[in-house]
């Protein structure tokens, strides 16, 4: 490897680039650090405005208050259910949709591909979807969170490209041995495209976990609401319900309502923060799939 000369111009350039990167990282990380610090500081310190980076007067009272609140866990359980069940259904139906579209011998292939791409850019809009879903009787049912988002056209296209890369000979050999299409799909095609499926699982899971729009439209029963709806009430509508239902005297323990909100945020983010570093590799692969193959 040729050792190149490092002149002043290069050094200045490097410094500029590294500064940019440092600023980017700080900007992304600081809000999280701040929120965690506020969550574990004492209420008095928060109210005085002393906390800006490090926790002041380490104190877990705020966390105890929030974690003892039952509705938080109900909505969290709901979200887990929606995410797991929803992602599973998504993957199943996406594969079922993408597989026929990838086989050249399918006679409706071109027309269906076109329709699929069409729906990506053009849809009826919010009101027709709402009317259809409520007309089907899904209002306030758990299925309303799962069915309207069952298939994402974009993900079907990614899955379809992956299936197309499986060599035709594998299919022919399997057909010779008497396998029907379902067996081919299940035993041959799916194991081959496992990385793609991992990426799609990630996309769908994140979409379900963060979904509050569907809940806002279709769910009004508190027992079925996902975590995001709960958070919205606490954070944005400044609901005092946590302080009112837990029988803790706020003034006596010197807690801050601001703190309670930040603890809720921490609770909501923790699963994501834990999960993401593990899937980093698949994520990078997946974005390449989505963009390069178009």
């Amino acid at each position: 490897m040729m050792r190149t000369e490092r002149n002043i111009g290069d050094k200045i350039f490097d410094t500029v680039v590294y500064t940019f990167i440092a600023i980017a990282v700080v900007v992304c990380v600081y809000p999280f650090i701040y929120i965690v610090s506020v969550s574990i500081s004492s209420g008095a310190a928060v109210n005085r405005g002393d906390v800006w980076l490090y926790p002041v007067d380490l104190n877990f009272e705020a966390m105890k208050t929030v974690l003892g609140y039952k509705q938080l866990w109900i909505s969290f359980a709901n979200t887990v259910f929606y995410t797991v069940a929803g992602t599973f259904l998504n993957i199943v139906f996406t594969c079922l949709a993408a597989y026929p579209l990838s086989r050249k011998s399918f006679f409706l292939r071109k027309k269906l591909n076109f329709l699929l791409a069409f729906t990506m850019y053009f849809s009826g809009g919010l009101i027709p979807i709402y009317i259809v879903v409520t007309g089907l009787g899904l209002y306030n049912s758990r299925l309303a969170m799962l069915i309207p988002v069952l298939i994402s056209a974009y993900n079907v296209m990614i899955c379809r490209s992956a299936f197309e890369s499986v060599s035709e000979e594998l299919y022919e050999n399997a057909a010779l041995e008497g396998a029907n299409d379902f067996i081919i799909l299940y035993r041959i095609a799916i194991p081959v495209i496992k990385p793609t499926l991992a990426v799609l699982t990630l996309y769908y899971a994140v979409a379900h976990y963060n979904d509050f729009f569907n809940a806002m439209l279709y769910i009004s029963d508190r027992n079925k609401e996902p975590l995001q709806s709960f958070l919205r009430r606490i954070l944005l509508q400044a609901s005092m319900e946590i302080m009112q239902t837990t029988s803790i005297d706020m003034a006596a323990l010197n807690q801050s309502t601001l703190q309670v909100r930040y603890v809720c945020i921490v609770v909501a983010i923790i699963p994501v923060l834990i999960f993401v570093p593990f899937v980093h590799k698949y994520l990078v692969q997946g974005t390449m799939l989505g963009s390069v193959k178009g």
Binding site: M2, T4, N7, G9, D10, F13, D14, I21, A24, V25, V27, C28, V29, P31, Y34, I35, V46, N47, G49, W52, A117, M120, Y121, F122, S123, G124, G125, L126, I127, P128, Y130, I131, V206, Y209, N210, D211, F212, F213, Q228, L231, R232, I234, L235, L236, R261, Y262, C264, I265, A268, I269, V272, V276, H280, L283, V284, T287, M288, S291, V292, G294
Partner: protein
């Protein structure tokens, strides 16, 4: 590591991000106003002032997405063959010249592709975030077509009017993507279809 920290905000849900924004910008306990006070400036009630809505929306949108989108660009840059770099070094180029004359032209197709796909979502500007951040004080700058449709349709039961608005929205969206694709094919030979 840098990658992971910068794209983390993308996975945080809209509700949580808006919760963070609302609490950070609050005039009483919010950290932004606390910092401003230390510098001697009065507290500004950011979320009730129409002129602040768009900057807040745009900046927080960038914060959330820039890390994730950069993954695509990194992947594209990694696709440039090392021999080209060697050639430029031998010709005596410094880093800045390499970047402007080699990297940027090589990733141009990718950038344009992404631009077209983003344009396709131009008219569907994030309903959720606008909905979570706005309040009656800022309706004039904050309302986008989707939130307007939502208010008219579902909250006021004005179904037919808002369905028409929604359809119109989709049509324009489609037209924009179509034109962008045509232009891109004529000007740069890259296109989505």
């Amino acid at each position: 590591m840098v990658q992971i920290t910068t794209y983390l905000p993308y996975f945080i849900s809209t509700v949580v991000v808006c919760g963070m924004i609302t609490n950070f910008l609050s005039p009483s306990g919010g950290i932004v106003n606390m910092a401003l006070n230390k510098l001697g400036i009065e507290s500004i009630n950011f979320l009730s002032l129409p002129q602040w809505f768009r900057p807040i929306y745009v900046i927080s949108g960038s914060w959330q997405t820039f890390g994730f989108n950069s993954i695509i660009y990194v992947a594209a840059i990694m696709g440039i063959s090392p021999e080209l770099y060697e050639a430029m070094r031998i010709d005596g180029a410094n880093k800045r010249q390499i970047i402007t004359n080699l990297v940027f032209p090589s990733i141009r197709p990718t950038v344009i592709l992404i631009l077209i796909m983003t344009l396709g979502r131009l008219m569907n500007v994030g309903f959720e975030k606008v909905y979570l951040l706005y309040n009656p004080a800022v309706y004039e700058t904050a309302d986008v077509i989707q939130t307007y449709v939502y208010r008219q349709g579902i909250l006021s039961n004005n179904y037919s009017y808002s369905a028409a608005v929604g359809l119109f929205n989709s049509l324009i969206n489609f037209a924009i993507v179509f034109v962008a694709n045509r232009l891109s094919r004529k000007l740069t030979d890259t296109a989505v279809w």
